[in-house]
Amino acid sequence: MLLKLSLSSMRKMMKDYLVLLIGLVISITIFYMFQTLALNGDFTKQNSVISSIQLVFNVGSVLLAFITFFYIFYANSFLLSLRRKELGMYMILGAKKRKISQILFLETLVLGIISLVIGTIAGAGLASGVGSLLMKQLDISLEGYQPFYLPSIMMTCGFFLVLFLLTSSVNAIKLARATELDLIRAEQQNDRVQRKGFATVLLALIGLAGLAAGYYALVHMEELREIGLFIAASATTIGTYLIFITLLPVFVNALKKNRVWNERKLNAFTFAQLRFRVNNLTKVLGTVAMLIALGVGAMAGGMAFQKNVSLMAEMGKVYDVIIHKPVPADYEALKAMTVEEQNTYRYKVDDAGIYYLKDDLLADPPLINTIGLEDYDPDNRVKRVSTSLPSKVYSVYDHPEENLGPDIESMPPDWQEAVTGEFINSYEMINGKAVRIVDQTTYSGIQGEERSVVLARVDDFLKYKQELKEIDERQTRLYADETGAEGPQLYSKYTTYASLYAFTSGTMFMGFFLGIAFLAMMASCLMFKILSGATRDKDRYSMLRKIGVRQEWLVGSIYKELFVVFVFPALIGLVHVLVGMNMFSFILEEPYVGIWVPISIFLVIYTFYYWITVQLYKGIVLPKEA
């Protein structure tokens, strides 16, 4: 009997449950997708690049789990609050609390299982779609990748079932503690929370100061480092909350105090509704603002790193191409590129060392990166080596140092940077050997294979990814053949670029999906919170209609009121993001690259939820026209 009643009331609140369901499905879908990317064993084993992303997706799953936990918790207690009256009524009519708790528990579980089924299926779909998109972008074959992957399914189901069990138990406990009257009276809310005077002003000032401090820390992250991070996180959060608690109500009250405005059309009513909302929602709005900042920030951050990959790769090496022991195919490849500078240097290798011919080096002095050097100049990172080499032999990496004989000098730092930083593209090449620059006579006396290395700079290395990839593959094979090492690591500009690109793309993708999940859940929290007051507003709207307010004005009033509620956290959250991206300015050259993408995504999601909220709210409060 009670079950029937509960079913019928659930049907009545279909829309609210649907919204909860959508939020859950989004969360589960994304969680599942992360899991397939993180757990797909065969797949990850085959791709060395992928394994670095794996970590990223695991971290993402954990973060997502956290948010989802709070979301479910929040949404559930909202739904419970919607039904308090009804439940209280059952209890007064003699239903046993235990029975009601059981039903609630069951409801949550059923809802959870439904969303799990939909979410997993949708997740598999998303995983095969998005996953392949990601892999395509990373030039990784999808061999071994299964969108429907049992361990991932089990992981997802297991995790969420625990989550549902937890939240439904908490709900049941909450209910068990409440008395019948508590439940029935739950709807009575206080309409006017007014805090005035000195305390407000003080809090507002503290809030502004907090925000200022937080922003300062964000902008000056480079000098402040860890302390800056701490200040930024805490001061911005506190500042945001205080501003929502103090300034927003003041702002709305100011609107209301303006007589001319207040007495225009429905404004008096709209502002009054708004005042109630901002007083009631201060903390929720503060949270939403922070989470918007985090969500958009995650997307923008991932994106910025990804866009800055080539810039970061540029920092590593000056030369785009390094070819030891070039073969005809390498020269072919070079011909296909627009080469701006190309130098060839001869050297010899024996068991003890690598010996560069000084004459070659001095004939075409190479370029180096000054980042690690004393005369580093951020505006002019690259310079040509100009230090003269009067002595016969210069050495670095000699073991032990005493080996340096009378004619051997320690290598000047810029030459050292050149022959170790620029010339060497794999550790396998040095492998504990000394590196020397020697004059012609010494060079001729050295027993050992003579080789050459070609260094080249092209107009834009991103144009020749295919050629560079092939060159690097030949170099890798060369080292593998010579040293017998398995899969020697290469440190060319291209390889650095490729692995950074994979990593940041993974981060970006995760940032995006995490951000989307975040925003969707946040916005629906806000929505639930707003809708939970809607039943109470019903009478107001019906009265307004009776005294002759046009339907379109009522609708307009709803749009306006909710717009203000939605727009404030969005504004503050976005300002946080814009200021916050400064934080990366010491790692990234252009932290704002493409920031419009995450912001647009945010705006689309947020607007969508705004619209849905207005529609649902309208459905609840607006009287049906005859």
Partner: protein, 255 residues
């Protein structure tokens, strides 16, 4: 001769669509109210009083028939015209939930004027004037929760009258008041009617409230049953009303 503010001819109201279970709430009602009249509508529960008031107040459309208020045929109006008409020509007092509890009494009273786009400098004197008429100047800055039930109904009356409506429509305005407050509200309404020329149509269950009217229309089963005029004093009229109600076989409805 006075003009009629309200003319209702052969109004029918059928709830529910064809094919469903229909309820014939009004079966051809005709009535006329002259300017400055104070008319009561009485009848047993379910007889169609509220339905009649709703179609007159344009909140509901009649299925058939003709209704004219202050010279305007409202049956042909569009949705927005109806809303505007309500806000300009009609004043309402309901049994409860008359005031928006998140607005002050002043803001509540000013609302109809705001809706018509009256400028805020013109609003203030009008609100103060009507508040004075109803004796509620002291509570203008208070919120509805801070005032008594009787004061609330007065404030509702002020809101209903602030824009000089053609007719004041009241559905059980005393329904949730105690006898003292009810009496005071009815006296105020009488004063408005007699000294300020406000036309009033009031639906009520209660014979005592009805006795304040000058004329009472009785409905039964969606049809006009009879009407009586007040010729002598109120006491007499009260008895007369009880007689008709007894006749209607609805005396159990009378409080």
């Amino acid at each position: 001769m006075k003009a009629s503010v309200l003319e209702v001819r052969d109004v029918q109201k059928i709830y529910g669509n064809r094919g469903e279970s229909q309820s014939h709430a009004l079966k051809g009602v005709s009535l006329t109210i002259q300017e400055g009249e104070f008319v009561g509508i009485m009848g047993p529960s379910g007889s169609g009083k509220t339905t009649l008031l709703n179609v007159i107040s344009t909140l509901d459309r009649p299925t058939d028939g003709f209704i004219q208020i202050a010279g305007t045929d409202i049956t042909q109006m569009k949705q927005n015209q109806l809303a505007d008409f309500r806000s300009q020509k009609l004043g309402f007092i309901f049994q409860d939930f008359n005031l928006l509890e998140n607005l002050t009494v002043y803001e509540n009273i000013a609302l109809p004027l705001s809706l018509q786009g009256v400028s805020s400098s013109e609003i203030a004197p009008k609100v103060h004037k009507v508040a004075q008429t109803l004796g509620i100047q002291e509570i203008l800055q208070k919120y509805p929760v801070q005032i008594s039930g009787g004061q609330k109904q007065r404030a509702a009356a002020a809101r209903a009258l602030v824009h000089d409506p053609a007719i004041l429509l009241a559905d059980e305005p005393t329904g949730s008041l105690d006898s003292k407050n009810a009496k005071s509200l009815l006296e105020t309404m009488t004063d408005l009617n007699e000294n300020h020329g406000v036309s009033i149509m009031m639906v009520t269950h209660d014979a005592f409230s009805a006795s304040y009217c000058r004329r009472i229309l009785f409905i039964q089963d969606g049809k006009l049953y009879t009407e009586i005029h007040r010729t002598q004093d109120r006491q007499q009229f009260f008895k007369q009303i009880l007689d008709v109600l007894a006749e209607l076989g609805a005396s159990h409805d009378v409080r």
